[in-house]
């Protein structure tokens, strides 16, 4: 029996700057506007997305046309030089970013749907459903990434869809575990129990009460997963397991690497795509981390810690009869 009508929580509660639930949008906005880290992360991501969308209009040269000698160094016309096929690097980066982001976002979407779905079902229903689903999750968790990717590429062929599928398959488990834990705690909340006693269906409770509550966590998780997905895409493409007909940052690095860019000193063919990948991942990480920090109350200052209060002089007393 928890009876705490009064324990000074009125004060403590008023102090808590914890975001109160009046819709996610405003909450998310508050997190972003209060954290410089989140702002920078969001700006980086938005910049890359904008470039990817505008690619057909802003790329200076066609990516299928040779415009100069192989591995031509940076020049005024080509600020990042040319690649092994004499193609403009800036245009390649813009095009590559497009596919890399598509792969990253698509794989994340698939991972979120699978992981979120399994996490919610397992956490909400509990019992044997949870045991079975979480055991399956555990199996997926221990599948070694690379062999799986190699097998998929070998059996079904290396295509963009397969790449997305493989990455999603590798990423959904973490989401499922995080979501399940959170749903388990939300489903114990009194207002969920109340909805159940009102006769609300499970679907209604999940979509109206549980999902909105885990929303922020899901958003943070999504952003962080995008980073991992793009990293995975690059790694798989670099190992030659990506779709060789598409231009992605990973493919650019792979081709440059295979065609002796490093021994010929053509750093401009390797470092810029690598930097792009790093920047996007950092952006995701900054944003995701900021949201996660805002969600985690443990990082806030503890209440009963000594040595912290300040002394100040007595206020000038208003004329009060004593």
């Amino acid at each position: 029996m928890a009876m705490r009508p009064d324990s000074g929580e009125g004060i403590a509660g008023a102090l808590e700057a914890a975001p109160r639930g009046s819709g996610h949008r405003s909450w998310l906005w508050q997190v972003i506007s209060e954290s410089r880290q989140a702002k920078v992360g969001l700006a980086v991501l938005l910049a890359f997305v904008a470039i990817a969308i505008l690619a057909p209009w802003i790329e200076p040269f066609d990516v299928h046309t040779r415009v100069g000698p192989v591995y031509a160094p940076p020049s005024r016309a080509h600020p990042l030089g040319l690649d092994d096929g004499g193609i403009d690097m800036v245009s390649l980066l813009i095009q590559g970013g497009r596919i890399s982001l598509i792969v990253g976002f698509a794989a994340t979407l698939v991972a979120m749907v699978i992981g979120g779905g399994i996490g919610i079902v397992a956490g909400y229903f509990g019992g044997w459903v949870e045991v079975v689903l979480m055991r399956i999750t555990d199996y997926f968790l221990v599948i070694p990434d690379l062999p799986l990717a190699i097998i998929v590429a070998a059996v079904w062929g290396a295509s963009l869809t397969h790449l997305i599928f493989v990455i999603a398959l590798l990423l959904w488990t973490t989401t499922a575990r995080i979501v399940r834990a959170q749903v388990k705690s939300v489903r114990e909340r009194v207002y969920v129990e109340r909805a159940r006693s009102l006769g609300a269906s499970n679907a209604r409770i999940i979509f109206r009460h549980v999902l909105p509550q885990i929303g922020p966590l899901l958003i943070a998780n999504t952003v962080l997963t995008v980073a991992v997905a793009i990293f995975d895409e690059t790694a798989l493409a670099f190992l030659g397991l990506g779709d060789p007909t598409r231009i992605t940052w990973g493919n650019i690095i792979e081709f440059a690497f295979l065609r002796t860019a490093i021994s010929s000193g053509a750093w401009w063919a390797v470092i810029p795509p690598g930097l792009c990948v790093a920047l996007v991942i950092m952006g995701c990480f900054w944003l995701g981390q900021a949201i996660e920090d805002a969600l985690n109350p443990r990082l806030k200052v503890s209440y009963l810690s000594p040595r912290v209060f300040r002394l100040r002089p007595l206020p000038i007393t208003e004329a009060r009869p004593r």
Partner: protein, 347 residues
Amino acid sequence: MSGARTDLERAGAASSDEAPLLEVRDLVARYPVRRGIVGALTRAPRRFVRAVDGVSFSLRAGEMLALVGESGCGKTTTAHTILRLVDPVSGAIALDGRDITRLSQRRLQPLRRRMQMIYQDPYESLDPRFRVRQAIEEPMLIHGVGGNRSGRRWRIAEALARVELTPPEMYVERFPHELSGGQRQRVAIAASLVLDPDLLVADEPVSMLDVSVRAGVLKLLDRLRGVGTLGVLMITHDLSTAAHFANRIAVMYLGRIVEEGPAREVIRNPQHPYTKALLSVVPKRDPRDRSNPEILTGEPPNPTDVPPGCRFHPRCPVAQDRCRTIDPELRPAGSSGHRAACVLVGH
């Protein structure tokens, strides 16, 4: 409207001849105790928390019954079992004469409308993301009542007026965190009232509220009950509150009702030694009235291990030898409608 009603009024509510709104007979509910790996491997016998262990009572429309007891006595599980949020092992629950003990959740769904629950903590029982309007509208959407949008809007305003949150326009667009504890509890009550329930189960409805607003919420429940169509089952640990607002009081100990009767009778003329002890330790408001509390020794009851015979005998100040073997039933004691489960009463 006064908290202190005359005996006549109290008796009037309890002695109507209609079939009771809610009838509970020999209700038993258990939770399995986790055995752990060693227990499972050695096939240790499965143990159960006997949370509700043979509870019987009835509640009429227009009546408030207070189910009183210490934590762990099974009063909240009793409420959850009646609402079929926990499945009973045995016994029977009848709502308006209709047995609902074994109804499937699907068949139960339309009946849920008629029995509503009010939770202890209004800070927790309202979804923080729902505006007052949405919180009150949700039950109507679930049960498909209230007609169209404007019909529902009208009912929301009416429900808010019934819980004295007026003018309703001032409250409908607010979020729970913009309301005080008492106002939140009123919103929770309004969300139950929009469905026009027959039975309201209130689980410690005021224990989380500030002293200065408790009376308001309790009086509201009292007024709703006074209309005559609504029965209120109030779960509480606070005997003073029960004494003031309930028509009848049932005292629970270790999963069973040990004494039950008209509120005034139970408070002024307790028959069971447990009730007597419990009443003696309730702090009185008047500092001159420092009675000698009869503090029970021994550990608080453990419902996995109910003692044989009378379940109260290990802590009972007046236990006799026969109490170890006889498990007494509720028998008439004192005045009419007053019953107690003790070998010492009802000769």
